[in-house]
C-alpha cells in the first residue's frame, strides 16, 4: 500500500533522513520507533506531503506521490494525525470534525461518519459545541483521531498519539487504534511507548539518526536485545 525507497530529507545543513526504505502492506499495523530526533516525524511529514524529500521515491497504492501536495494526498485517503494533535483550538469540536471531512460530499454520509466518531468517542459527543482548545489533552487526542477518521482514511498515519496521556488514556487510545484497524484501515504509527506499540503492530522499524537500523515483526523487535535496552527500558 505504501512503498518508500531511498528517502532522504535535509533541513539546511541537517540530514534528517538518509536513504530510508519502508513498506506498509494493506491491512497492516506498522510501527516506527526511535529516539528523539531520529527522524520519525520527518518521515511521516515527507509521506504526507508536508515536507519535500531531497531524494527517493514514495508510492501510495502503486502510484508515485513524492512531491505531491498534502491536501491532494489527504483527499486520496492518505491521512496524517500530526504530532501534538494540532486541533483547531478556536473552532468547536463539531467544526473540527466537519473540517476533517471537508473534501468529502456533505450530507447523509458525513452525518453517518460523525455519528460513528461520536459513537467511538462519547466524550466528544458531550462536548460537540465546546471550543476544541478547552478540551483536555486526552480529549484533544481523541478529537484529532476523530477528525482524521472523518476523511475516511485508507492509510492512517499517527505521530505519537499517546504522548502526554495518563496510562488509562493510553490504553484507550491503543484500543481505538485496534478498532480503527479492524474496520479495514491500514495503520502506520510512531510511538515512544514502544512496548504497547510493538504489542499491536504486525511489523516495526527502528530509526536511528535518519536511518533504518532494524526491522521485523512486532514480536521479533520486542524480543531483540538492542530494542529492549534502548526502547523498552530493560537491561
Amino acid at each position: 500500500m505504501l512503498e518508500v525507497r531511498g528517502l532522504s530529507v535535509r533541513y539546511g545543513g541537517i540530514q534528517a533522513l538518509q536513504g530510508v526504505d519502508l513498506t506498509v502492506a494493506q491491512g497492516e499495523i506498522v510501527c516506527l520507533i526511535g529516539a528523539n530526533g531520529a527522524g520519525k516525524s520527518t518521515l511521516l511529514g515527507a509521506v504526507s506531503g508536508l515536507i519535500k524529500p531531497t531524494a527517493g521515491a514514495i508510492a501510495y497504492e502503486g502510484r508515485p506521490i513524492a512531491g505531491h501536495k498534502a491536501s491532494r494526498l489527504s483527499r486520496q485517503g492518505l491521512i496524517l494525525v500530526p504530532e501534538g494533535r494540532r486541533v483547531f483550538a478556536n473552532l468547536s469540536v463539531e467544526e473540527n470534525l466537519i473540517l476533517g471531512g471537508y473534501f468529502r460530499p456533505r450530507g447523509r454520509e458525513q452525518q453517518a461518519d460523525m455519528a460513528e466518531v461520536f459513537d467511538t468517542f462519547p466524550r466528544l459527543a458531550e462536548r460537540r459545541r465546546q471550543a476544541a482548545g478547552t478540551l483536555s489533552g486526552g480529549e484533544q487526542q481523541m478529537l484529532a483521531l476523530g477528525r482524521a477518521l472523518m476523511g475516511r482514511p485508507r492509510l492512517l498515519m499517527m505521530d505519537e498519539p499517546s504522548l502526554g496521556l495518563a496510562p488509562l488514556m493510553v490504553a484507550e487510545v491503543f484500543g481505538v487504534i485496534r478498532r480503527i484497524h479492524q474496520r479495514g484501515v491500514t495503520v502506520l504509527l510512531i510511538e515512544q511507548n514502544a512496548a504497547a506499540a510493538l504489542a499491536i503492530a504486525h511489523r516495526g522499524y527502528v530509526l536511528e539518526v535518519g536511518r533504518v537500523v532494524l526491522s521485523g515483526s512486532g514480536r521479533e523487535l520486542a524480543s531483540d536485545g538492542r530494542v529492549q535496552r534502548a526502547y523498552l527500558g530493560m537491561d
Binding site: 496524517l80 478556536n90 473552532l91 482524521a148
Partner: protein, 295 residues
Amino acid sequence: MDGAQLLQQIINGLTLGSLYALIAIGYTMVYGILRLINFAHGDVLMVGCYLAWFGAVQFGLPWWAALMGSMALTALLGVLIDQGAYRPLRSAPRISALITAIGVSFFLENLGLVVFGGRPKAFERPEIFNQLYQIGDLRVLSHSVWVPIITALVLAGLLWMIYRTRLGMAMRALSRDLVTVQLMGIDTNRVVAVTFALGSALAAAGGIFWAMKYPQINPLMGVLPGLKAFVAAVLGGIGNVVGAVLGGLMLGFGEIMLVALWPELAGYRDALAFVLLIGFLLFRPSGILGQELPS
C-alpha cells in the same frame, strides 16, 4: 453645539467611520489569515476607483454596473498580487512579505501615475447618492445614509460567511494553523485567494464611496485612507472583522468630533489616527476586540 448640529456630526462620523471600516476589513482579513500587513491595500483601492471611473465615464455604464465591474476586477487584481508577489514568500520570514507589500504599493502608485496621469479626475456622485435631505436645520446627503447601511450589510454577510459556512470554517482554521489545514484536504492557496478577492473587492467598494464623497480621484488617493484603515484595523484588534468595523467607526467619530469640538485643532485631524495608534500600541496593543497577541 445644539441638538441638530450634534446629530449632523454623528451622521458625518458614522459615514466616515463606515468608509474606514469597509477598507479596514480587507486589511484585517488578510492579516488574520497570513499575518501579513498588506500595505498595497490602499493602492488596490485606488485602482478600483479608476476602474469604476472608466466603467462609468468611458463606457457609460450605470453606476451599479461600474461598481460591480470594478469590484470584480479589483478582486482579480488582489488575487494576482497575492499569487505573483506574496505566495512565493509564504514560507519566508514575515518581514520579506512585508517589504514586498511596500514594494507593490509603490509599484501601483507609480503605475497609476504613468497610466492615469497625475491630474485628478472628477468622480461624479450618482443621482441616488446625491439627494439632499433637509430636516429642520439638519442637512443630510443620501450618500451619508447609504454608506453606513451598505457597511452594515457587508459586515452581516461577512460574519455569516465566516461563522456559518464551510469556507468560513476553513478560513478560521487556516488563520490558526496553515500547516494542519492542508491535512484536511484543504487547498490553502484557494482559501487565501478567496480572502484576497473579498478584501480587495471591499477595498474597491470602500474607495468608490470614498471618492464619491470628495468627489475626485488621483493615483495617490489610496495612501491616506489606506493608512487610516490600517490604524482602524489595529485599533479594533487586527485579524478581527468586527473589530475592524468598530475601529473604523471609532476613528471616524474621533476625527469628526475633534474638528467639531475644537475647530482650531482641525489641522491635526489626520494626526489623530496616529495618536490613537500610538496610544493603543502602548496601553492596549491587542486592540478593542483582540484577545491575544500574535507573536
